[in-house]
Amino acid sequence: MSAENATAIVLRTVEFSETSLVVTLMTREFGKVGALAKGARRLKGPFESALDLLALCRIVFLRKSSESLDLVTEAKLLRRFRVKKGNLGGLYGGYYVAELLDAMTDDYDAHPELFDLADQTLAALADGETASKHVLRFELGLLRILGLLPSLEQCADCGDEVPAAGSVAFGHLDGGVLCAKCRVGKQQVASVHAGVLRTMTQLADSDDRVWRRLQIDKRTRGQLRGLMNQYMAHVLGRKPRLQPYLTWLERQ
């Protein structure tokens, strides 16, 4: 059993007893960690109510070698997640970030780049920046970092270049665009405008400058949201719990 220090985002909290919480944390240094925080529900003590959803904290935890849960012994709040009045889009965007991080990463599988992307996204959402764009950027960044980004330029089946003009076939099961030959007879194929695919490529770019400059018109945003809803459901094997709430992203 060794004591570790980490920077963490709180993904989930479950009341364990009158005074304790079981928390799921995304740490920058170790990846996802499930841990018991004894006394975390008390007003005073080593937690100071820092372990609230989506909060960014510095934590100290004891890593258990056996099957049992790790133990958080200290948490210091760095930034609380709090949206401004009326910004439900930002709030639901934040919950969605937590759901995807929890569902799509494994315990003790660290992805510092993904952590930083989540941290940056949550800060922007709380700040009231355009929620729809930041959530799309997060989803595509996450898919790229985890190696799940759909093929956007080459046919997912035969590898041929797919002409980026007009409507392009997108096979959810095949993991990307399909050329005219390969789309025949395929299931779950959506027809997507080439502009939407270009926007996806730019949003997934690891270079911040590429997507920050991007202006996405309402129609492209709508199509992209629809495509991502289907694709994420396919990748997760179920519809994300937050999906029905994502319509709020546009109502900011």
């Binding site: 109510s49 709040l77 609380r80 997640f81 439900l88 709030l91």
Partner: protein, 199 residues
Amino acid sequence: MAEITQAVTDLVDQFAKLPGIGKKSAERLTYHILHVHKSEALALAEAIRNVKENVRYCKSCYNLAEQELCGLCRDPGRQQDVICVVEQPRDLMALEQTGMYRGLYHVLLGRIAPLEGIGPDQLTIDALVNRVRAGGVEEVIMATNPTVEGDGTALYISSLLAETPVKITRLARGITSGSVLEYANKEMLSDALTGRQTF
């Protein structure tokens, strides 16, 4: 003897199911019950039965009640034009203990927690909106827990009430963010009520 042992074991098991009660405490409670006067022990059993058979939710505010309406809703001395919105009946009890508030309540019976699969439809939000739309309400005080989900619930409700002329306020931040109302002490709750701000 086997039968007696079984009865004792059953009681220990029942106590051990209660929150915060471990095996040791369950045994202590069982021995206590075995030693007290029969009438005292049966009063406990009767109180449990009574609660389960007669307590329901108030038709208006969803507080615990023994009739259609709870005692607070039936009390003509309560200010009728202010509604204080809380997550659970125990939050209402904590606020009542301050003695600072004379209006009515609305108990949501939970909070919006999309990550846990709890949406607005599973709470008593519709009933609250109907109460406000029916008229006679001047102010709605949001006293949900100062957590991300509690604040989010208040935010959602205030977005629904935005078209009504009612004034919406939020408990002051005397209560530590990220904590829960029921653990705040009387003084903190009093301050939070007095210092409430427009939401």
